[in-house]
């Protein structure tokens, strides 16, 4: 905060009289006076509305009316930008530059797999399930300076983004959360406080299955062997060498993946997490076990 300007201002304050209740005042023109229309000596006769007609009687035609011509705004055909807006899915844009910044500032821990929960727990990204947001879209902005090695799980990612992450030896997975699971994922603490069992994540809807089972998109439903091929293919396309794992620990971290039905790493669907007593309650009834199994 203490820049040259601050120092200058404080120096100026030194030479001024002591600030007290009697000499403090607001910035000039900070309060806007509302214009009052009164029937006084100036505004008595026509009250600023002129004589006779549409102006005086507030019967002006609608905006855009061109006197019985077809108005301009009706001559142009409609362009349905917002058609089916209630069915569309929205993804919060998050760039690689932002991710790099979070890592540098210590807001994200690269020693652990990063998923939507860890992104939302930074409090710098908000995913609002009630606004039909289905997660985050990882953008390629900042791909050329991205240098973090991480295991990240997002909802959408472009080819260049995937290349930027895999060039540094990282792993990326795209994954779908249904709105009910997303509600739990975006604010885990709030969800656990409810005392409700962790939901079993649904599979993606019909129109999303193709995306999430494609190895090129690193979909979570794709065949792992095809993903390995796709990694090599992408490395050849962009001309970089794939990283070797440095140690077992790192390898284990980078290869950690969630089950398609699992929404929290290390917690299975059907479990109830009690944060107050620090206990996990697991279902025993075979009916429940069968219901929550993957």
């Amino acid at each position: 905060m203490a820049s040259g300007i601050t120092e200058k201002a404080l120096k100026l304050v030194q030479s001024l009289p002591r600030l007290s209740l009697s000499n403090i005042k607001n910035l000039p023109h900070s309060i806007k006076k509302t214009k009052r229309r009164r029937r006084d000596r100036q505004h008595g006769k026509t009250h600023g509305r002129g004589h006779k007609g549409q102006g005086q009687r507030a019967t002006l035609p609608r905006l855009g009316f061109e006197g019985n011509n077809t108005p301009f705004y009706l001559q142009i055909p409609k362009e349905p930008y917002y058609k089916d807006h209630e069915l569309r899915k929205e993804y919060v844009p998050v760039s690689l530059l932002q991710i790099q910044r979070f890592v540098d500032l210590g807001r994200l821990n690269v020693k652990e797999p990063i998923d939507l929960s860890s992104l939302c727990n930074t409090r710098l990204i908000q995913v609002k399930w009630e606004q039909k947001q289905f997660g985050v879209d990882l953008l390629d902005e900042g791909a050329d300076i991205f240098c973090a090695r991480l295991n990240i799980e997002v909802q959408k990612a472009s080819e260049l983004t995937i290349a930027a992450i895999e060039k540094n030896g990282g792993v990326i997975t795209t994954r779908y959360y249904d709105p009910h699971s997303l509600h739990a994922v975006v604010n885990p603490a709030k969800f656990f406080a409810k005392g409700v069992p962790i939901p079993r994540c649904k599979l993606p809807p019909q129109n999303e299955i193709a995306y999430y089972s494609d190895a090129k998109n690193r979909g979570y439903l794709a065949d792992p062997e095809k993903i390995l091929h796709a990694r090599v293919e992408l490395a050849q396309k962009y001309g970089y060498a794939l990283f070797e794992y440095e140690n077992e620990e790192e390898k284990e971290m980078l290869l950690t993946r969630k089950d398609p039905r699992q929404i929290f790493l290390g917690l299975a669907p059907g479990w109830v997490v009690n944060l107050k007593d620090k206990v996990i309650l697991k279902p025993k009834d075979p009916e429940f076990v069968n219901y929550y199994k993957s």
Binding site: M1, A2, S3, I5, T6, S20, L21, N26, L27, R123
Partner: protein
């Protein structure tokens, strides 16, 4: 060795006096001083011990001076320097400086936003205000139900009630309808910025003093008056400590002096700081204030929105 240390201290003290009162304020002086002083303190402590062992106690007993309070400042930006202030003591009437401390630049050297201070003052004045002003409407006025004269045929203006707002003694149209509350909540960020700005201005204008504690030798009000007169602390002084159990002597001394007041840290506010000419903080109060304000400045969690009825 001791003599040499004394020399270093006297030289650096001179440079200090220049630095604090003249315009050529330089931080390099202070830094060098703090290191030399720290050396000196160690030396004096060791020498006093040896003297005690020797048994030569003819020297007057002195506090191991100066006290350099090294404080760990959190969240200091690499582009800003910590502010430095004298640590004073209330144990004597005359001004006695017993050390130097670092102050956080974001709290005591923030940009002086006078508009935010004004907003804080307005808020503090208004949130507790209830206007009892009220005027009767034509319905509340006594009488006026009867038409004063017929509509037509009298050659007079048409009127339906003698309590119409047009009439003398009639009701008031759109008058004040009290009791009306002026309560509103100033946003958390503005309150924090207001406190930081006020503390910075108080510090920049040399109206902020930091003392080791509020202990004074006597409970005589004259002692307090003399102290404030000799130190030119002005007509009104606000003493702030981190606890609300104030020392006995200062409580009794200040009891009958309305312009000198004691306040715990949790009660410190912009209005009181500007109402008093001088602000005196104890070292513990400084610690607590910095901790609380820095938490507010650097927290990542959003605070829940204030609701009056929750």
């Amino acid at each position: 060795m001791l003599k040499r240390a004394f020399c270093i201290l006297s030289i650096s003290k001179n440079s200090f006096a220049k630095g604090s009162f003249g315009n050529d304020f330089s931080i390099i002086h202070f830094k060098s001083l703090s290191t030399t002083c720290r050396c000196f303190q160690e030396l004096t402590q060791s020498s006093v011990d040896t003297l005690d062992i020797d048994g030569s106690k003819h020297l007057p007993k002195q506090r191991s001076l100066p006290i350099i309070t090294s404080r760990k400042l959190e969240y200091v930006s690499q582009y800003s320097q910590p502010k430095q202030a004298w640590l004073e003591s209330l144990e004597t009437v005359d001004e006695n400086k017993i050390g130097l401390i670092d102050l956080h630049p974001d709290v005591f050297g923030a940009f002086p936003r006078i508009d935010l201070i004004h907003q804080n003052i307005q808020w503090q004045k208004l949130y507790k205000k209830i206007s009892y002003e009220t005027l009767e409407t034509r319905a509340e006025k006594r009488g006026g139900g009867r038409k004063p004269w017929p509509q037509k045929g009298m050659g007079r203006a048409r009127h339906g009630s003698i309590r119409s707002p047009l009439w003398k003694g009639g009701g008031k149209a759109f008058g004040p309808r009290g009791p009306q509350s002026y309560f509103y909540m100033l946003s958390n960020n503005l309150r924090v910025a207001g406190l930081c700005s006020t503390l910075s201005i108080k510090f920049a204008q040399n109206n902020l003093h930091i003392v080791d504690s509020l202990e004074i030798p006597s409970d005589d009000p004259e002692y307090m008056e003399d102290l404030i007169d000799t130190r030119f602390w002005g007509f009104s002084v606000l003493f702030v400590d981190d606890t609300d159990m104030m020392p006995r002597n200062i409580s009794l001394a200040v009891q009958d002096l309305p312009s000198f007041n004691l306040m715990p840290t949790y009660g410190l506010n912009v209005y009181s700081m500007l109402k008093h000419e001088t602000l005196v903080l104890t070292l513990a109060a400084v610690e607590k204030l910095e901790e609380k304000l820095l938490y507010q400045l650097h927290r990542t969690e959003r605070q829940a929105k204030f609701r009056l009825y929750q």
